[in-house]
Symmetry: C2
């Protein structure tokens, strides 16, 4: 696997907000995701690598992510530090209606490492657009999570399976999907 | 369900090209997809509704969809008629590097009905962007198809399941997912 060049590699944290703890969304998988996001965030901060925090500002009247609600706040594990770049969005893709693409291009960032919520909705949509816009895209399997979904025939699809299928459809086509240990190992091999 | 207004509703056929008959892609589900696409195409033509044919012009050296190959040609079931709109793309999303969004806006098309190949790659990516760009988006479950994928642990994920999970992740969040009979029924109820 190709080495990751540190200074041109952004960590993008997608929608890691308190509102996802609400029962509104269903049953979640991978409750360790935030712990892994935190490990990655620490590495990026220690190495002064670019970080982007994406916040979903929902326009849905019932969403726990709408503004003025506590649920709109970032989770404490990934709370941005002063000066870290924040992009607000109100659709799934962090590239639509935001300055994300311009920010990445202006800072000569060619590689993006995506983590956050949820695997098959906002993470997957942002991954697909990142890849199609020409960014070399990584998704971290154990630093993402999702919820159960309902199949067309009404059958419940459990969150672990939704997560597994979403990552399988991304891997190789849109992104390199690896876990937190693997991406940290790749980064440690670089002196850049 | 809301009625579909005929003249502002485009049928978008994604990557329905001969190259998808190659063994290159794996094992496919829903071999009836092209028959259902043809039924929809006939309805759109009879009612003089807008049609967009999207063709993937691959830049991958091994892809059966690269230009100058027979595989790049549209399948005979959905061969465009003279004057029907064609968009060429070389990434998954039919909205990136194409004139699709401009065409839809200039023609006051607010609803899009998506069919084609493959459910979890180009159809899903185009659906997500259509929705996030503000189009009212329908995906036709039995007029799309996909191939088996490999999970991160190496397990084979059969094409029917990949299709099912991809549509479950789209339905309600990005699109209304219905079958061919249902969308034709919705269209027949309109006198627009």
């Amino acid at each position: 696997m190709e080495k990751i060049k540190s200074k041109s590699t952004a960590l993008i944290l997608i929608d890691v907000q308190k509102g996802f703890d609400s029962n509104y969304w269903g049953v979640r998988n991978n409750l360790d995701a935030e712990k892994n996001m935190q490990r990655l965030l620490l590495h990026w901060r220690e190495n002064k690598m670019p970080i982007v925090h994406v916040k979903h500002v929902s326009t849905e009247p019932e969403s726990p992510l709408r503004p003025t609600q506590d649920g709109n706040d970032f989770k404490p594990e990934v709370e941005p530090l002063q000066g870290e770049h924040i992009e607000e969005k109100n659709v799934n893709s962090a590239f639509i209606g935001t300055g994300l693409e311009k920010y990445l291009r202006q800072n000569n960032i060619g590689k993006v490492v995506l983590v956050g919520l949820t695997t098959d909705h906002c993470v997957s949509t942002t991954t697909r657009m990142a890849a199609n816009l020409g960014f070399d895209t990584y998704v971290i399997s154990d630093a993402t999570a999702t919820f159960n979904r309902t199949a067309l025939d009404g059958k419940n699809l459990d969150a672990d399976s939704v997560h597994e299928f979403a990552l399988a459809s991304l891997n190789g086509e849109f992104a390199t999907v690896v876990d937190t240990n693997a991406v940290l190992h790749l980064l440690d091999k670089n002196s850049d």
